[in-house]
Amino acid sequence: MRRNSKKNGAVKRILCLVLALAMVVLAGCSNGTSSTGGDGTATEGGSSQSAAQNSTAEANGTGDLKVVRTRTGAEPDSLDPFQSAASDTEAIMHNVFEGLVLYDETGAIIPGLAESWEISEDGLTYTFHLRDDVNFHNGQHMTADDVIYTYQQLSGLESGGEAISSKFTDITNLEAPDEYTVVITLGAVNASFLQLTKVAVVPKDYTDQATAPIGTGPFKFVEYTPGQRIVLEKNEDYYEESRMPQIDRAEIYIMTDESAVVQALQSGELDFAGVSGDNAMILEGQFDIYSNPQNMVQIFALNNEVEPFDDVRVRQAISCAVNKQEIIDGAFDGYATELYSNFSPVMGFYYNDELTDVYTYDVARAQELLNEAGYGDGFDMTITVPANYQAHIDTAQIIAEQLKAVNINAEIELIEWGAWLEDVYGNAQYQTTIVGLTGKLDPNDVLVRYTSDYSRNFFRYNNPEYDELIEKAMTETDENVRAQYYKECQRILTEDAAAVWTCDPNIIVACRPDLKGYTAYPVTFTDLSKLYYEE
């Protein structure tokens, strides 16, 4: 008997210990609730601010700072605008850096650091008139010297001879007639040049851009913690009233897990974030959902050099056998725009809208074309898909299923992104693949990918007529004629079935209902300056 009661005593002690521990944990929780409850009320528009936020707590300490928290899916490649190429990085850093020209939400070019410009008759000389009221984030006043320095770096002129970007090697001379005028001379006509001058202007002789970036934009860079976040704050000294930020601080969290993003939105730890179509449906109601075409081309690329895709009839047959609407519904939950060439209708001015019925979904016609090409009994093929893009994987599964109707047996091979970049993108070691090509403002940047001498022409498309048209468009200064050339280019691609262009997946953003002003652009750019909290 005694033994038993003693044993119960021991159990009681253990239970007490567990209970005490549970209380410590609970105390931590309740403590948090009460302290952050105060934060919620202190925050501007903080009606749905949750208790579970630490990030705003520090900001709130200094008054009612308006903080916006969002997410990016990848680490920045480099904070230095000249060493960065990733569109995810550009999406954030375009708030910090600005060029001579900027673009608006339709993709049209608008004045930036240059308030006006003239292009000479021969299309070779560009004269930019700079604003005289611009300061860099370090207080330094911006003059023609900084612009000259920027373009010297980019073009390799007088900076040791090494160009930073091959796009600027056309520049043959740079001059500053006065403090606020810059004259850029090109060696050859380049119709895309004005659009290129959206590249960041950096302060002269400043070399710490990779760690402490300094630009002229509406937001200043504050900090970057690898694996965690990038913080920007309002540039109080910003020169353009119409683009003056209405929020004080932006925190961009690096989050790789999509479901974590959804939960962070729901728990109030993020104010807005890009989400996938199925998650948008979950968040609808609690959040404002913005869905806009993003000028991306999801492409089912067929290696034009590899049998049987070297036969145009086989490519045409596949174009007829793929039902794009099913992909849009199945892989993107309807949030996408159907495409007919390597061009999104968002780029209205250059878009060829007459290609919608060149290849419609028609299994009988596909079979006929395959018969003609001698593949009436079908064949085996592989779709190589980067494993980190779920939408592309889903698309591959739908396509593989659709191709069975014409006896094509498609096997899906998932490969890691790094391997995809080298094997598929770099060396065209593949049969077919599915990937998204991000949007560009200049039609040349989109269509030049199919020219035979383009280093990353992984479609291995080769058509001298096409090359010539791209060349002609490049030197054409009349925008209307140029647009005609690009429409013609799209037609050639479609008729040759250089690839199967499935859709332009929408960029879908879930935004806290009281956070307004979210603006979509036809390029990846998260414009923070237009965001504001509803009073």
Partner: protein
């Protein structure tokens, strides 16, 4: 002394082999760090410049040799992806993973040890079967699943605890603990369940030993028998398991850290592999090997404390 020398010698050989294998594997894997860092829209000139600045134009053996020489000078090199010293990145990651490990291990022991001991004494009770089943269940729920589940309850529904990002101890101690509770809990449930089973079996076995009967017949109270003899003798297998768990948690959990967006060792591992960041991977492999060896070392020492009959040979 000879024991320690042999241990350290073994460690060095292991590390050399592991680093050689990692180096080799990364030559076979397709994927160029410069391509991966800059992505699809890279300009050819940018790639060239980056490759040069990363030192990727040097021959392979030279890069390995430079790394080994640097290592002996205490320099782990510079990460390609982050452009920061590898040692700095690992130290930063360790702050997060280390705090996470500390909280997880405290939770593991606090749950596993008492529950195991209690179960061993009450295995005949009906509700013991229930507890057994719960431990079986938490053993079979993967950490990521538990993580999402916990976030849903405590962050989304109740809004008690944050679900993302790490707050450092020095900045905000309370916030730091709060940010670690959910990830630590989702990690420790599985290991606590393992611990429960080991403790239970071990204690049950010890209780059948002759010395227990002797102790009782000597007139000792059941508490003294339990905590003076049985538990102490049961601890040996438990310590082995705990050592493995500690090494495991300190090695960073890729999945848990991703779900809770914690910038720890696990996150570094996944980023470094995906971006072919060889110096960072080498540094991490070195770190992992050292952690495992140290944990085993500590386990050996604790053995001899718990059971003085065991001597380090």
């Amino acid at each position: 002394m000879g024991y320690y020398c042999r241990k350290i010698g073994g460690l060095l050989v292991t590390l050399l082999l592991v680093s050689l294998i990692t180096f080799g594997v990364f030559q076979i894997l397709p994927g160029n760090p410069a391509y991966i860092i800059l992505g699809v829209d890279a300009d050819p000139l940018q790639i060239e410049a980056l490759e040069k600045s990363l030192g990727l134009d040097l021959p392979l053996y030279q890069r390995y040799w430079n790394w080994v020489v640097g290592l002996f000078q205490g320099d782990l090199g510079t990460s390609l992806r982050y452009q920061q010293p590898v040692s700095q990145l690992i130290a930063d990651g360790l702050k997060v993973t280390g705090s996470l490990a500390l909280v997880s291990i405290i939770l593991t022991v606090a749950i596993g040890l008492p529950a195991g001991i209690w179960l061993a004494g009450h295995s005949e009770k009906k509700y013991a079967v229930g507890l057994s089943m719960i431990s079986q269940l938490s053993l079979s729920i993967p950490a990521f699943c538990m993580g999402i589940f916990l976030i849903n309850i405590f962050s989304v529904q109740l809004k008690w605890l944050p679900s993302m990002s790490y707050v450092s101890w020095s900045e905000d101690p309370l916030g730091s603990i709060r940010s670690l509770i959910l990830p630590a809990f989702s990690m420790s449930l599985g290991s606590a369940a393992v611990l429960i089973r080991y403790v239970k079996v071990s204690v049950t076995n010890q209780k059948k030993q002759d010395y227990v009967r002797t102790a009782y017949s000597k007139g000792l109270t059941s508490r003294r028998v339990m905590y003076g003899h049985v538990v102490r003798n049961s601890l040996i297998p438990v310590i082995t398991i705990l050592g493995m768990t500690v090494a495991d948690i300190l090695g960073g959990s890729i999945i848990t850290e991703n779900i809770f967006s914690l910038p720890g060792i696990g996150r570094l591992i996944s980023v470094s592999i995906n971006s072919r960041d060889l110096p960072l991977i080498q540094g991490l492999v070195l770190y992992l090997a050292v952690i495992v060896v140290i944990c085993n070392f500590v386990v050996d020492i604790v053995y001899s404390v718990v059971d003085p009959r065991i001597r380090l040979k």
